[in-house]
């Protein structure tokens, strides 16, 4: 009698449990796992959605084409430059600000202010910066005070990407600063007291105690930042009006993918997506390796 009641409750738990999971699992299959497999499948085809009857299996040709496609090459170059500048600059500023904010009064105020750009939509921040970077905008008016004649940033193949980089650093420094701040607050006071007894102060303390102890946080920040950088789309899309111009100087990998998909090159666009995934995966694994070697 008792045993069967126990069995019944177990069965009831399983029934209810699967009901709990059902919506998530359906969504997972239909809108994630299914599409992922379809993306792999379609990347082996020459497939233009405007001309469906021409669908043709071409093996790895889409992937081979990636290596010869100057558009994709340019997009990858731009994205790499963007990441190579944004990741270290933003991580360094975030760490610097976190160390400063942590040691002064008014922590909450500065935290809120620095975080504002991060909660703001990228469309909003992009448009705000486009106005500031206009030929006769705020930045150039300011530079004029010093006798510098600023360029038309977003119409210049030289200055458009650097201006977007500045925007990207500005908008996400707050996010990484907060992660650092949490990391700093987790450091135990005992280590500092011991170090102080040994006569370590100021710069020495930072160099030999704080930074090594924050290594995990730095790793997290660098990985997150790098993944985000390689997925950059919004700023480029808004600022270049979707073209990646001027002269492809702001074309990112995801913008290239978006443009290929919306012009119907479904097979090739999927190949770009898969290449992006592989690139991000490799970069993350490399960082993990470096991090673990340093830990050992």
């Amino acid at each position: 009698m008792k045993l069967s009641a126990w069995k019944k409750s177990k069965l009831e738990q399983a029934m209810v449990g699967y009901m709990f999971l059902l919506p998530a699992v359906v969504a997972l299959c239909v809108f994630l796992v299914g599409p992922i497999f379809y993306a792999i499948y379609v990347s082996f085809f020459r497939y233009n959605s405007l001309n469906v009857s021409q669908k043709q299996f071409i093996g790895l040709e889409n992937f081979v084409h990636l290596f010869h496609d100057p558009m994709f090459g340019r997009a990858l170059l731009n994205t790499s430059i963007y990441a190579v500048v944004v990741v270290p600059v933003q991580t360094a500023i975030a760490l610097f600000l976190a160390l400063i904010v942590n040691s002064i009064k008014g922590k909450t105020f500065f935290r809120v202010v620095y975080y504002l750009p991060t909660v703001t939509s990228t469309v909003a921040t992009s448009l705000m910066f486009m106005f500031i970077f206009e030929p006769q905008g705020l930045l150039n008016s300011f530079l004029k005070l010093f006798g510098i004649h600023g360029p038309n940033y977003f119409n210049s193949p030289t200055f458009a990407l650097p201006a977007i980089i500045a925007l990207a650093v500005w908008s996400s420094v707050g996010q990484f600063m907060i992660i650092y701040l949490a990391g700093i607050q987790d450091l135990s006071d005992e280590v500092y007291e011991a170090a102080a007894l040994d006569g370590a102060t100021g710069w020495k303390l930072l160099r030999h105690i704080t930074l090594p102890l924050l290594r995990r946080t730095t790793f997290l920040n660098v990985v997150l930042s790098l993944i985000g950088c390689f997925q950059v789309f919004d700023q480029m899309y808004v600022i270049s009006g979707g073209t990646g111009g001027p002269l492809n100087s702001t074309l990112s990998v995801v913008l290239d993918l978006y443009n290929q998909a919306t012009s119907g090159n479904m097979g090739y666009a999927s190949a770009i997506g898969i290449a992006l995934f592989i690139i991000i995966l490799i970069l993350t694994l490399i960082q993990k390796l470096i991090f673990e070697r340093e830990e050992a």
Binding site: L28, F129, L224
Partner: protein, 272 residues
């Protein structure tokens, strides 16, 4: 460890505050300028007005109110949907004895590693096939679940003591009752974190709504609409920036209300 704090620290901290705030302040200022003076650095006080805001809300040439409404409706549906779907799944993964849940959870973890852009093409085709491009269905239904939030929910429920369940079972509560009466009331911090991040992600998102409203301006969300507004009304910076601020203000209000959860969620999860 804190002894003398150099005033230089304050100078730097305040200096960076200015850098963070100036673009916002400049946008607010510009949004009050008349169109003919948007490039003037100094505009007399008497020329500043709410004209741009009035224009956005009343002009028949701009579907601003429609976009705002679309954004609000879509963000609310997606947030509520995620809250239900992710909390239920996270709870089941954390607290219920279910054969096969381990491997299933691994699948959720695995897909978290794949960037969303990878499935842009299949989603575009699938939703096109379903007739969901250019209406609310496409903007909401595919986005009602988040593996990451399920992960967070699972972590949260794993952290609660086992005795809770046992006592409730003795009291004769079933599985559903235990979830609803015991665990859910204690899950407020989890709910807050989910609401904030889901709402923010959806409210600010550009890529999917752009893709899924192609050619249907009446279902544009606010970011997509503002982006198109810039394309059409080049130079009307006062109107555009007024729109930008109206897009920004709801997020800032939510941020202020949930500031602590925001920061905690950020710090523990490392997500934006």
């Amino acid at each position: 460890m804190q002894k003398r704090i150099s005033p230089a620290f304050y100078v730097v901290a305040i200096g960076y505050s200015l850098i963070a705030l100036v673009p916002f302040l400049w946008s607010i200022y510009t949004s009050f300028k008349p169109t003919s003076m948007v490039y003037h650095t100094w505009v007399p006080l008497k020329d500043l007005s709410f004209g741009s805001y009035k224009y956005l809300f009343t002009s028949p040439q701009v579907a601003f109110v429609q976009w705002l409404l679309n954004s609000i409706i879509v963000a609310i549906i997606v947030t509520v949907g995620n809250l239900i779907v992710n909390t239920l799944a996270g709870y089941a993964f954390a607290r219920l004895k279910l054969p096969g849940k381990g491997p299933l959870f691994l699948v959720f973890l695995a897909v978290m590693m794949i960037p969303g852009q990878v499935i842009m093409v299949p989603m575009y085709m699938l939703l096109g096939h379903l007739g969901w491009i250019g209406n609310y269905s496409g903007l909401t239904i595919p986005f009602l679940m988040s593996p990451f939030m399920i992960f967070l929910a699972r972590q949260f429920f794993l952290g609660m003591p086992k005795e809770l369940e046992e006592a409730a079972r003795v009291d004769g509560l079933g599985t559903w009752g235990i979830f609803l009466k015991i665990f859910l009331p204690m899950a407020r911090p989890l709910m807050a974190t989910q609401i904030i991040f889901t709402f923010q992600g959806n409210w600010n998102s550009l890529m999917w709504p752009s893709l899924l409203t192609t050619g249907s301006p009446n279902v544009y969300t606010l970011p997509v609409g503002l982006n198109s507004l810039y394309g059409q009304y080049n130079g009307y910076w006062n109107n555009i920036l007024a729109g930008v601020l109206l897009l920004t203000i709801p997020m800032i209000i939510i941020f202020f209300i949930f500031q602590r959860q925001f920061v905690q969620g950020m710090a523990t999860s490392g997500i934006k």
